[in-house]
């Protein structure tokens, strides 16, 4: 059978890397890797590899490839079926065909690759980013940053150790209206803020619970599972609400609102978390709650989360409003953030929903429309690759926002206990059981090393 497509298969170096991953911790392996780091000198054109060609991956890749200073040089997905849509999108903006690969390590081995965009399921975010850092690549990784608190710490360490630029896909961090709201709050005009409310009220349907099937031709299921358990193959998106793969339909999305709130409030890690709720509505085998209320304690501030996946009255800000001079229907907006200050009340919407402030008398005193900023967020990443400056959504900030999601999830997993968090040790001080979930037991050979 002849070779009819340019599917790049990793050469013998694969074995070296796999040995390294299996035995990780070995300092000698690091020496090898470090010596392989090739910094492509920041140039006018950034050579980008794209890892994960699902809906979000292709959507964002089109925004990358539209830029005159970006060339997509690799398309990577574990499923061969996903290449064609991405190739077509690239072909509209650049003449040179990208190489195709099912193994992202091919991109990492290529010294011509400057940066990697990661849009895989959550369970690959941490290891993918760390390995890219080790290979000397800058990384744009989709939110949420990672699945466990321990992964977040390791990602921060890797970015620092290898001097990598990391942008995380919370694009509101590149929105002028969010900056303006943050500046307003920090000026003290809202007074002291003791309560913040973050909402995520959706109306979703069951996850598919398809039967087990043989792995389809063309899908590298071993690679898809990666560090997560290799369960029997089932089509569909059942994994979205399973602990080993994801932070859940709530956690993966409310990350955006939590990140906006944390940014405006200028808060880092909380002292404690307390969750209530659970899987109360759906009967599709999911593990991660469909109903979640959580409270985080900071000094003189309580951050309250109200999230559910079965609320018919609430909708996300419609697309027709997102990029226009309109505000969402705040009352039933799914993704709003509210700050209660001693001098007034602020509400802000995700997706370019804008923000408004009401004074103590209930009069609106400030109001600004918003816009979505995927392109601006990508632009910030590209600029930072060239300047080596910190991105708008850098890995440490993203770790802190992801931690909020993870803490609420862990509280749920231990029976909705109140958990006290110690930021220095990245552990809970009052529950050994909770600490079991700070780090996931990864599957060989896809193990994140203690020392990255």
């Amino acid at each position: 059978m002849c070779i009819y497509y340019q599917l790049t298969i990793r050469n013998m170096k694969t074995i070296k890397r796999r040995e390294f991953l299996e035995t990780l911790g070995a300092a000698s392996a690091y020496t090898v890797l470090s010596s392989n780091i090739v910094h492509a000198a920041p140039s006018d054109k950034i050579n980008l590899g794209v890892m994960g060609l699902g809906g979000r991956g292709v959507y964002m890749m089109e925004r990358f490839v539209k830029r005159p200073d970006v060339e997509v040089v690799y398309l990577c997905d574990v499923d061969q079926r996903r290449f064609s849509v991405a190739r077509e999108a690239v072909s509209e903006y650049q003449d040179k065909e990208p190489k195709l690969t099912q193994d992202f390590r091919v991109m990492l081995d290529d010294p011509n690759v400057d940066a990697i965009y990661i849009a895989t399921p959550d369970h690959w975010h941490a290891l993918g980013t760390i390995m890219a850092c080790q290979a000397g690549k800058d990384v744009y990784v989709e939110k949420p940053l990672c699945v466990t608190p321990w992964e977040g710490k390791k990602m921060v360490e890797a970015a620092k150790k290898y001097n990598r630029v990391i942008q995380v896909g919370s694009q509101s961090r590149s929105s002028q209206y969010v900056d303006d709201a943050a500046e307003y709050v920090r000026s003290g005009k809202l007074g002291d803020i003791h309560i913040a409310r973050v909402y995520h009220l959706m109306n979703l349907n069951n996850n598919h619970t398809a039967k087990e099937e043989p792995v389809p031709d063309g899908l590298d299921y071993e690679m898809w599972c990666g560090p997560a358990p290799k369960l029997p193959y089932r089509p569909g998106t059942w994994w979205r609400d399973m602990w080993d793969f994801n932070t859940g339909s709530i956690g993966g999305d409310i990350y955006h609102q939590l990140d906006i709130a944390r940014y405006i409030l200028d808060k880092s890690d909380p002292k404690s978390v307390y969750s209530s709720g659970g899987v109360q509505y759906f009967k599709d085998g999911r593990e991660i709650p469909d109903t979640l209320l959580a409270e985080y304690e900071y000094d003189k501030l309580t951050l309250h989360v109200e999230a559910a996946l079965w609320t018919p009255n609430y909708i996300k800000t419609p697309f027709s409003i997102r990029d226009s001079d309109q505000y969402p229907n705040w009352e039933f907006n799914s993704t709003k953030v509210e700050l209660l200050g001693t001098e007034g009340f602020l509400r802000i919407g995700r997706h370019g929903g804008g923000w408004q402030v009401f004074d103590a008398q209930g009069e609106m005193v400030i109001s600004e429309y918003g816009r979505q900023t995927n392109e601006e967020h990508i632009g910030n990443f590209i600029d930072c690759i060239k300047t080596r400056k910190k991105t708008n959504s850098n890995v440490e900030d993203a770790r802190q926002s992801a931690l909020l999601v993870q803490m609420a999830n862990i509280s749920s997993r231990v029976g909705n206990q109140k958990l006290l968090y110690d930021a220095k040790t990245n552990n809970f001080t009052n529950s050994k059981e909770a600490n079991k979930y700070v780090r996931r037991k990864d599957r060989k050979p896809w193990i994140i090393p203690e020392t990255v």
Binding site: M1, C2, Y4, Y5, L7, G55, Q80, R81, R82, F83, S84, V85, R87, E88, S91, E92, M202, N203, L204, N205, N206, N207, H208, A210, P216, D217, G218, P235, G236, T237, D253, I315, K316, T317, P318, F319, S320, I321, R322, S334
Partner: protein
């Protein structure tokens, strides 16, 4: 391909006004010749119109009939409408299962207020394939398994329907544009590069005209959104296939002659590809237009180029060439404000072999105008 236009001037007048053969003689409109039209008075129901023509195509049969539709204009060709089949009798409209001389009776013309004397008509036909009623084995999930509102696989016991033998061609779409697109309707910004899309637009609003680039007429049209596809098919009197219909046309029913007779058992009812289970390039034979140049085509292939490897019913190019829009769509509340997603099936000229099989599909925004997506029609 032949398009026939006639202007009625007086009772009992037979006029053949125009026979128009395109440069692309096999651009997938069927050959309709020797058209004659006359108006006759009837005893009780006012005048009737009698249309006669010859259907030249030799490979028309019960299994692969012609779909013949008529469009008419009453204002000198500025606006055109599809003639509803309910008004017609005879053997030469809708599904026509044999070649030869055809006769159509159009009743109630005066009752409906048509100005017969100023009327023009065009008759077009395209080749369909009959998909007999019966059960088949569906292995994919509609919506790619991503529509959370779809709890179970759909009913796979389908009644008889007909599907276009070939993907809709550039010539067919240009013909549609010339009739409907004088003000730009059906044309989108991504068609501007005629080298890529194969259609040249000239003139200004409201008098755009469209021509086909040489050698391109018989290629599948692309750069068409889901809305463009639906509009074209509505113009013909057809619809897009559902995913269930598309997949049955690809793999065949459990009985290829249908569940009414059950004489011809499908040898591969769970086949991977239209021709069976051999890989698209197995034994160094290329069976469809997929990724690479080995199949002889870097871009799209003229429709029907791999006729030897048609589906068990004789449908061409279901695997590869251009992926095809279907009627199915899905949405989630993650995508509030989006008009859902639509499914495309069959893979394209740049898909790897696994992407042109019976079960693979991709979700696309309905406004997507892609160089790897086209479509074909169905008629129930």
């Amino acid at each position: 391909m032949i398009i026939y236009m006639n202007i009625f001037r007086s009772i009992f007048l037979v006029m053949i006004v125009l026979l128009w053969f395109t440069v692309n003689a096999f651009s997938q409109w069927l050959d309709i010749t020797d058209v004659k039209i006359k108006k006759e008075m009837t005893e009780m129901a006012g005048p009737e119109i009698v249309i006669e023509y010859d259907l030249e195509s030799q490979d028309i049969s019960e299994k692969s009939p012609a779909y013949v539709f008529i469009r008419f204009s009453q204002d000198g060709g500025t606006h055109w409408n599809l003639l509803p089949l309910q008004y017609l009798r005879g053997n030469g409209f809708d599904m026509v299962s044999s070649a030869g001389h055809k006769k159509i009776y159009w009743w109630g013309v005066a009752e409906l207020g048509f100005d017969i004397d100023s009327m023009e008509i065009k008759i077009r036909g395209l080749q369909m394939v009959r998909i007999p009623g019966g059960e088949f084995i569906m292995k994919s999930f509609p919506g790619g398994g991503k529509d959370p509102s779809v709890e179970a696989k759909p009913n796979t016991m389908l009644p008889e329907y007909f599907i276009s033998k070939n993907e809709t061609t550039i010539t067919m779409y240009a013909d549609y544009l010339n009739e409907m697109g004088r003000r730009g309707f059906g044309w989108n910004r991504r068609m501007k590069d005629s080298l890529k899309c194969g259609i040249v637009r000239e003139g200004l609003d409201p008098d755009y005209s469209y021509s086909v680039k040489p050698q391109k007429g018989n290629h599948p049209v692309n750069y068409v959104s889901w809305y463009d596809a639906v509009s074209f098919l509505g113009w013909c009197g057809l619809t897009l296939p559902t995913e269930v219909m598309w997949e049955k046309a690809f793999v065949g029913g459990i009985y290829l002659d249908g569940d009414d007779s059950k004489k011809e058992k499908n040898p591969f009812p769970e086949r991977k590809f239209p021709w069976g289970n051999e890989a698209p390039d197995g034994d160094d034979l290329y069976r469809c237009n997929f990724d690479g140049e080995g199949d002889g085509f870097v871009k799209t292939a003229p429709v029907g180029s791999f006729e030897k490897y048609n589906s068990p019913y004789g449908v061409s190019d279901l695997a590869g060439n251009v992926a095809e829009w279907t009627l199915d769509w899905y949405t989630t509340s993650f995508h509030a404000g989006i008009d859902g997603f639509r499914m495309v099936r069959g893979g394209s000229r740049i898909d790897l072999p696994v992407g042109v099989d019976a079960v693979s599909g991709a979700t696309q925004f309905p406004i997507k105008e892609s160089n790897i997506i086209g479509f074909r029609g169905v008629k129930k």
